[in-house]
Symmetry: C2
Subunit: 322 residues, 2 copies
């Protein structure tokens, strides 16, 4: 049984915030994106949000039932966002603020957990109870699901795969540590690897014409598709580092599958082929050839879908966090 | 309300097997140890077990209620031990064999999970719902507990922290992979580090008089206590490697505490001081100074206690595996 309601899912990222209008089957009806401007106070974000929210909603004459928010550092228990690295927001009672403003149900959740809920309810993980969800985008979001429940940890800060240390790695990460996986396999990490290769190798490459500031992982993929060997090598190196590290998480969590989403998955085999080789090479004997790799369509934002689902009434498959 | 029953807990290890008679409060009434002789067929183990079992039981005139077994590769669902690295046993239906022989309840469980149950029911983790249990002995056993439930994974093989890869490590591990944490921080790993240091450093050390085959981690600790600088450095290096790797697991699981047991904990501050420094250095900002380190008495075998508790009737704090 369906109803006519629509739901707003919001995915607040370090660079961009995505708003999506979703029906209760997880179909994305409209999507809009704007700069988060995390270096400004929260009030700036809020007034941008209001504008975009009004715009996206104006096309619908269906009732908006509620708002679900996925954000880094969000606590579903307190409804508060706080302690965000590289955000100038301080402590924001976002659930209370939005509820008061719009008089609708508002729920918030950590962004990586939102993506895991999205793939469980509407995506590649609808048949899975034991899996790792990995979002490859501006950062690396991750979430472990065990027996259908999201692993949140003692105080909701579990699942920081992006800040585990890679083998022999020494890159400075945005978190202030060195060698974090995120600094290698996020969108920017791939660009950093391109610059590493441009410095260490001598072969010609169209990528030699880009500044660091202008390079994106999308551009690297475009060059890889044209056979540019620096671009291909950058993905080889990225995939290898990711695969090695995933072997560790398989040893710890013993998942049935690893599910990937986020913009970077558009790199396809350039990334996932070397990743799978490195993963299989690094797995314990008992895990070899047993872990499924599932990759979502790059243009589905599962964090938006998962966040929106938090305020849906038909929460048939109950989502628990432990 | 107590009763008069006693329970047998068995901890089958790669080198030794420990039998313990335990009362229902987890008090160890007697303990005996014998060589597992894992290179021989299971029938050899079984006949040794029968002899030792008769010996240890002969001192008690209380009724033996049941037998709990902790073993690597043990499945609590099937009652079977199989796929043990370095064991010549093949597939052993140990629960069925022991039940038929002694006409008592028999339950089996993975050895690392047995230790986690032991510390939850009778030990340092009785107040904890989110923790990592690490047994430092012949190998490195580990088990994550989330919301009071043991993480077993999709097919019971989670918790292999010992086979995650250390930063820059390249040692051959007993599992056939290189760089596994176990090959650095197990009892033998510490001895290997001593030999590494004896080769790379020039300072005098009593440890230069030992063969590889005769050296034990206990001897290394004795030398550290006498101020032998190779011994102290070996523990420094071991603790640092362990601490760095634990930071990864804190990022993934967000535990309230890490609980250590096993013979190697007798090294005390020689191990845990450098470990804590490296852990704190490597933690994400949000986790710094938040993870408790709890170290058990070295002579308590929590795997024996946890295994024995499996057949206790008063299983008040229900143990679940997910």
């Amino acid at each position: 049984m369906t109803n006519d309601n629509v739901y707003l899912g919001m995915d607040i990222g370090g660079t961009n915030t995505v708003l999506g209008i979703v029906d209760e089957k997880g179909k994305s009806l409209a999507r809009i994106s704007f700069r988060t401007r995390s270096d400004e106070p929260f009030s700036v974000f809020l007034s941008n949000f209001e504008k975009e929210f009004t715009t996206i909603l104006s096309d619908f004459n269906k009732p908006l039932y509620g708002i679900g928010v996925g954000a880094p550092g969000a606590s579903n228990k307190s409804g508060v966002i706080e302690n965000l690295e590289n955000f100038n927001w301080g402590r924001v009672e976002i659930a209370k603020i939005l509820t008061r403003k719009y008089n609708k149900p508002v729920k918030i959740i950590n962004d990586a957990n939102a993506a895991a809920i999205g793939v469980m309810k509407f995506g590649l993980a609808s048949d899975l109870k034991f899996f790792l969800q990995i979002t490859l985008g501006t950062g690396l979001g991750s979430c472990a699901v065990i027996n259908g429940e999201i692993v949140s940890g003692y105080n909701g800060m579990a699942g920081e795969l992006g800040h585990t240390k890679v083998f022999k790695g020494n890159r400075m990460c945005s978190c202030g540590k060195r060698g974090c996986l995120e600094s290698y396999v996020s969108a920017e990490g791939i660009c950093r690897t391109v610059f590493e290769l441009l410095s260490s190798e001598r072969e010609e490459s169209g990528l030699r014409e880009y500044t660091y500031s202008n390079l994106t992982s999308r551009i690297v993929t475009d060059f890889a598709e044209k056979g540019d060997s620096i671009a291909v090598k950058a993905y080889n190196r990225t995939g290898t580092i990711l695969g090695e590290k995933l072997a560790d998480t398989v040893s710890l969590f013993n998942p049935k599958a690893i599910v990937f989403s986020g913009g970077v998955v558009s790199a396809g085999d350039f990334l996932f082929e070397p990743m799978t080789i490195a993963l299989e090479d690094s797995l314990l004997q008992m895990h070899k050839n047993s872990v499924e790799i599932r990759v979502s369509e790059p243009d589905i934002n599962y964090a938006v879908l998962g966040a929106a689902s938090l305020v849906m009434n038909n929460n048939g498959s109950k989502i628990n966090e432990t």
